[in-house]
């Protein structure tokens, strides 16, 4: 499912082709993708504009009905990513821990989460949580999403941390820094630069996957669309609108992420 969109070729390693599952992030070097981005973006805006202008009924009605849902989608996405980052950091550290029990727990968590479809996990955690405590739907959705994405985020953190040369750790340890001080002062400040871009990808992937929480009764963008459709029976029109809005949001976000990656790579070169 996850993994960053990189093509790594090394002598000893097999070739890794990985397309990622966020939106396709347009890199300036990838001319084809950049023009595809503009084509999709302008196409989406024009479609939206035409629908609203030429067929205000029902499109304008739908358009006014769904913004609450967009807000909820963003709420879920932002809270889930924040929580997933925390879980991811802990998991990533756990995965590289020398304590074999911590290691085992973290690895098992990652393994289990990666082996179960997200939708099944959402249901499971939602109802499992419901047996223990009563939490609002929105919170349950956020927790479920972050438990899932935390596992992937953990792999991102682990990769980012292990990518830092071992000499950095040795230099710090030889000065007298403890393991955790080394992590805090030396490794993590360097690792975030490798970690941020894939986090951007995860953010977009998460935003799209939040559409699944509509099934739990959270009034996100998709759910609002379904509500409108079931009242008006205008299924095709409603989901056209929903799809176009999702597309515009993810296109904007992927542009932001690529912009951020650009800034970051300049920063690294200094």
């Amino acid at each position: 499912m996850k993994h960053q969109g990189k093509c790594v070729v090394e002598e000893t390693q097999p070739i890794v082709i990985d397309v990622g599952d966020g939106a396709a992030i347009p890199k300036p070097s990838d001319k084809g993708l950049v023009s595809a981005w503009w084509l999709s973006f302008i196409g989406a805006l024009v479609t939206l504009g035409c629908l609203l202008y030429f067929k205000p009924n029902p499109y304008w009605r739908i358009f006014k009905f769904i913004p609450d849902g967009i807000l909820v989608t963003f709420q879920v996405t932002v809270s889930a990513i924040a929580l997933a980052l925390v879980i991811g950091l802990i998991t990533g550290l756990g995965r590289i821990s020398r304590n074999k029990y911590i290691n085992l727990v973290a690895s098992t968590y990652v393994e289990v989460v990666r082996g179960v479809p997200l939708l099944v996990q959402l249901f499971y955690i939602y109802y499992a949580l419901g047996r223990v405590v009563h939490v609002p739907d929105l919170l349950a959705a956020v927790i479920s999403m972050s438990v899932c994405y935390g596992a992937y985020m953990g792999e991102v953190f682990r990769a980012g941390i292990t990518a830092i040369a071992v000499g950095q750790t040795e230099a710090a340890r030889s000065l007298g820094f403890t393991r955790s001080q080394t992590m805090y002062y030396v490794i993590l400040p360097q690792a975030w630069r490798t970690i941020l871009p894939p986090v951007g990808n995860e953010f977009i992937a998460l935003l799209k996957d939040t559409s699944l929480v509509s099934i739990l009764g959270v009034a996100d963008l998709l759910r609002r669309g379904r509500e409108f459709a079931s009242e008006s029976f205008l299924y095709f029109e409603t989901f056209t609108m929903v799809a176009v809005v999702y597309l515009i949001i993810t296109l904007i976000l992927s542009k932001l992420v690529s912009f951020m990656e650009e800034r970051l790579s300049h920063h690294v070169k200094r």
Binding site: A165, G167, Q168, E170, A171, A172, R173, S174, L175, G176, F177, T178, Q181, Y185, V186, P189, Q190, R270
Partner: protein, 246 residues
């Protein structure tokens, strides 16, 4: 502590990586202020021996006492011992996200609670000593190898160590930069620092070393003064090794 009692005492130390004996039954005492140069072919265990002294490598058997601390004693805080033992690596290992000055002040500020002004002043003194004061606010990536290595030495010195370990500090450098790093090391030696250096720089060894330790196959085969070592090596393998490098 009398001047003769060793500051580093390595007794019958063996170290295995899986089945490979990187060190077998190595013993070596080093006196305060002494300069020891370790020489030997690739894979002979030089780095491993050096790295056991600040426990970057754990040992499989034997005993190492540094400045009175038994490194295998559970009650000894290894981080305290490491503060007394500076280390300089072949690959510099400067912190790329910190400026030169911050590279030097990080440990004293965080580990010794030194305040920033004092730490900055000390770092400036050390940078002046290694001859690159003007680079204080630059990031390591902007420096040449020789400059980076001198910063690395200053960084280690910032903890006021009693012992300095050098693992082939000039092997990664372009020939024209080797001199500037060796100059700093010679200066340090003159000031009375206890130094253990893995290096094949013969000029440096002759000028600075009190003793040269020759290793091969994880063992110390010969310990001699530079004079004896280069002019009149005893062990056949030392002779063969010197023939190859001279």
């Amino acid at each position: 502590m009398s001047n003769d009692s060793p500051i580093i005492r390595i007794s019958d130390v063996s170290k295995y990586f899986d089945d490979v004996a990187a060190l077998s039954h190595v013993s070596l005492d080093i006196a305060p202020g002494e300069k020891v140069v370790i020489i030997g072919p690739s894979g002979s265990g030089k780095s491993t021996l050096l790295r056991t002294i600040n426990r970057l490598e754990d040992i499989s058997s034997g005993k190492i006492v540094v400045d009175g601390f038994d490194l295998d004693d559970k009650s000894v805080d290894i981080n305290k011992v490491r503060m007394e033992v500076g280390m300089v690596f072949q690959s510099f290992n400067l912190f790329p996200h910190k400026t030169v000055l911050e590279n030097i002040t990080l440990a004293p500020i965080k580990l010794k609670g030194m305040d920033k002004a004092d730490a900055d002043a000390m770092a400036s003194r050390l940078l002046d000593k290694v001859g690159i004061l003007e680079k204080a606010d630059v990031y390591p990536a902007k420096l040449s190898g020789g400059q980076q290595q001198r910063v690395a030495i200053a960084r280690a010195l910032a903890m006021s160590p009693k012992i300095m370990l050098f693992d082939e500090p000039t092997s990664a450098l372009d020939p024209e930069m080797i001199g500037e790093v060796l100059d700093v090391m010679v200066k340090l030696a003159r000031e009375g620092m206890t130094m253990v250096c893995v290096t094949h720089e013969m000029g440096f060894a002759r000028e600075v070393a009190d003793r040269i330790v020759f290793m091969d196959g994880g063992q110390i085969l010969e310990i001699a003064t530079p004079e004896q070592f280069y002019n009149n090596p005893q062990h056949p393998r030392t002779q063969k090794f010197l023939e190859q490098i001279l």
